[in-house]
């Protein structure tokens, strides 16, 4: 049978088996709910449902897991927009424009656009997966450790672009995130660093605890700070229809959509890079390509489109190395792979020959669940947003509870609760000092990738750092990263000079 025949057969099986449709409905809804809760990320959502699949047949297990995965991946945008707390690390970039829109009363529009563009990005990525999976797997093999280092270094330089007006403070935040990432065993030689003699810190600081703390605690403390301020009002929710954007307006942004899909899919193909890097890269590329880059960070719809399209497209990309090479493209894909192993399916180059029915069934699940996600998430959106307009003193308490549970559950360690509290409080004071949370978390995520790949590449090259420029793909990324860094520094110096000149003029005229 050809690929399309397998795919058609799989679709027919899904639509004629009520059990599969019921599982899709139930677990997509569950995934959206879990993803929208701060502290419960995609990985935890999958781990929660994984034991349910033990007694199921392989096909049903895949329906359950993929439904939960796609739902949770998309659900993260709801809390990112409404609460400025990303539900998953891949929704960090969504906070930059989503929450400012929510403050303007347009939370519904922001989430609606995010849902629509998640669907589109996912669908396009799954189409590429269906058509080109074995060929695209070869792309993953073209990327060695120097290439991975170059991509992650390039991503780090992008952090400057999201630092806002004060680049220095943004860079400081990223540096702090990088320092936090170095706690614990180093990723290659397992040497303990910065644990201050506490072996409980050998495993380092987990992303979930850090992210929940840095994003959620400052929001709570800000609320406490302003509780007696009569000028602070609860933002009213504006009404919206459909997905908050007309078809014409959405399609007019086709370049951003296609570009973000490509960035997300190809980033997903590279094992270990991750959806958070994909959404950041896509966001920054959209900003740099925009005619009005100054509007990014203030509630620009294109920022949400770039971030959410890429992070959902990344999911399709991550399936490619998982299925075709037997190497998971993300930690969530690792869980899916472990589920396949538990059902005695071995991904790898022979999987298309040995298990073609199952593989195309997986592709078909992705398409159908993506549609369920679109409908369900839009269906619950109005109610969910209304719930979030409840008095903040109630909402934030529930959010804190979720964050504490999420922080603890990542590795069942009380240390993570201390991390949550300490870094949360620190985050509050850092934000007071003008250092935003985004660069800290992105510095944490990207520096781990950067260090791991640099140390390996350095070892393989026997200490020859210039070897990075001997490899075409790595060289291109390094040159672009260096130029981007130089350009950012130049712009900062120019803006600083212009500001000082304006202040001098004002002083002399005044």
């Amino acid at each position: 049978m050809s690929a399309f025949q397998y795919f058609g057969h799989a679709l027919a099986t899904i639509f004629t088996t009520p059990q599969y449709l019921f599982f899709m409905l139930l677990f997509t809804a569950l995934g959206i709910l879990l993803g929208a809760l701060p502290g419960i990320n995609v990985n935890l959502s999958l781990i929660l449902v994984l034991p349910l699949t033990y007694a199921m047949q392989t096909e049903s297990a895949m329906v359950v897991l993929l439904s939960c995965y796609i739902g949770a991946l998309s659900g993260g945008l709801i809390s990112a927009v409404a609460l400025n707390i990303p539900g998953t690390s891949s929704s960090i970039a969504t906070c930059f424009d989503g929450h400012p829109l929510a403050k303007q009363g347009k939370a519904g529009q922001a989430v609606g656009v995010g849902i629509l563009t998640s669907f589109v990005g996912g669908s396009l990525s799954y189409a590429l997966l269906l058509l080109l999976a074995p060929m695209m797997a070869k792309v993953a093999l073209k990327f060695g450790y120097w290439e991975y280092f170059a991509v992650s270094f390039f991503s780090i330089t992008m952090i400057i672009g999201i630092a806002g007006d004060d680049v220095f403070r943004g860079v400081l935040g990223a540096a702090l995130g990088m320092a936090i990432a170095m706690t614990g065993s180093d990723p290659v030689m397992m040497v303990n660093r910065y644990n201050f003699g506490f072996h409980a810190l050998d495993g380092g600081v987990t992303l979930t605890a850090l992210m929940c703390g840095i994003f959620a605690v400052p929001e709570l403390l800000k609320l406490a700070e302003t509780r007696d301020d009569p000028d602070v009002e609860v933002t009213k929710l504006e009404k919206f229809r459909g997905f908050g954007i007309s078809a014409k307006d959405y399609l007019s942004r086709w370049k951003n959509i296609l570009r973000s899909t490509v960035i997300g899919t190809y980033t997903g193909i590279l094992p270990g890079i991750g959806a958070s890097s994909a959404s950041l890269l896509s966001y920054m590329t959209a900003k740099n390509s925009s005619k009005h880059p100054e509007t990014f960070g203030t509630g620009d719809i294109d920022g949400i489109i770039a971030s959410e399209t890429a992070n959902n497209a990344c999911m399709g990309g991550a399936m490619i190395p998982m299925l075709a090479l037997g190497v998971p493209g993300s930690s969530a894909a690792a869980i899916l792979m472990s589920a396949l192993s538990l059902h005695n399916v071995q991904p790898g180059p022979l999987v298309f020959a040995n298990s073609a029915n199952l593989i195309y069934f997986i592709f078909a699940i992705c398409f159908v669940v993506n549609f369920f996600m679109l409908v369900l998430e839009r269906g619950v959106l109005t109610g969910y947003l209304k719930a979030l307009t409840a008095p903040p003193r109630i909402v934030m308490v529930i959010v804190m509870l979720m964050c504490v549970c999420g922080a603890y559950s990542s590795r069942s360690s009380f240390l993570d609760l201390y991390v949550f509290a300490i870094f949360g409080t620190l985050g509050f004071f850092l934000q007071k000092g003008g250092i935003p949370a985004g660069p800290i978390i992105l510095g944490y995520i990207l520096s781990s990738l950067c260090e791991l790949n640099f140390v390996r590449a350095y070892a393989i090259s026997r200490g020859n750092v210039m070897a990075v420029f001997h490899r075409p793909i790595a060289a291109v990324f390094m040159v672009v990263a260096i130029l981007s860094l130089a350009n950012s520094v130049r712009k900062t110096i120019k803006a600083d000079k212009a500001r000082k000149a304006a202040e001098t003029d004002l002083a002399s005229n005044g």
Binding site: N43, I47, L50, P51, Y54, A140, L141, K142, F143, G144, Y145, G184, S185, P187, V188, M189, M190, N192, H199, A200, D202, G203, G204, T206, P271, G272, P321, L325, G326, V327, P328, S331, A333, A334, I335, M337, S338, S341, L342, N344, Q346, G348, P349, L350, V351, G383, K386, A387, A390, S410, R411, S412, S413, R456, A459, I460, R462
Partner: protein, 353 residues
Amino acid sequence: MKRLLALILSIVTVLSLAACGSKTQNNTQTGAQTGAQTGTQVTDPQPTNPGPDSTATEPKLDYPKYAITINGSTTGSTVDINARSFAKVLAKYVPVNVVVNSTSGQVDSFRSTMNAAPDGYTLCWSTVNVTISDVKGKTDFDSVNASTFIACTVKGGGHWLCCKSDFAKKNNINSFSDLIAYTKAHPQELVVSTSAGMVTDVACKQFISAGMDAYPVSIEDAGKRVVALLGGDIDLYIGGYAAIKQYIETGEVMCLCYLGHERSPFSPDIPCTTELGYDLNDAASIYNLSCPKDTPKEIVAYLEEATRKTVEDPEYVEALLNNSSVAYFAGSEETYKIMSEYKQLMIDAGFGG
């Protein structure tokens, strides 16, 4: 709004109850909670839903009453997958749920379990990698004496040495001996994968001690080692068979030898190092289940018996075979002996940090 809030809170409550629920116990208990301290006779663990003819006539240990947690390793890792395979089958032989906890690593799991209450509800699933970390001085505990071993469940698996077929063809390498000769002619030119602090590192050092003059680079995951080999970042792969077997079947990768005293049942055509004339330690993977040090002997005995039934279960055996591992049962005392000997072997071989 109030109704919605009430509905949400109700759902959260129901989900919490479901998460904390345990299977209904069919056995009756004696009037007093005799518990393990008074030496209550341990009964054989029964499958979850025993047949209508089974009756409980002997006094029962008051254990287990609620879910057992097994601390595994990082999500998606081979150890994690094996832990979940084990837990899935163990749940047939204990009347409660068995939950696998993901952690940041095996050492972290071991430490968490060591510090947990010795009540039999927190167990650790680990491998010799914890012992190797202990020998290298990277832990703050004695991996052999800091806990009580319940049983060993997997012994073997092992390590295969592979290279790309076109590389082998180009350099006329058809065997491990040819490879050694090549590396002697080109010292430190080839890059071989290892995994610092893990049993793969032990395997790598064994190959190097046989004369293979290659440059080791640490890559922790077998899947990533395969990608590194295929992508040309490394020249030689050392690792498990499951990750690479499909590439051997397609002919893209050539397997030179298996590190062991006899051929592996997973690759009967691949010669082992002993038959090739190299007297090397086999760097076997040993998976074991352990519990906190002061756990009552009756509970340890109960879990040991449940583990024995799990290891003999065809479902578990098949799951291991699919991961190129072999089920092997050793009881509590024997596992202690195996792990003690392994630790001493590592110290004698100079792996101390």
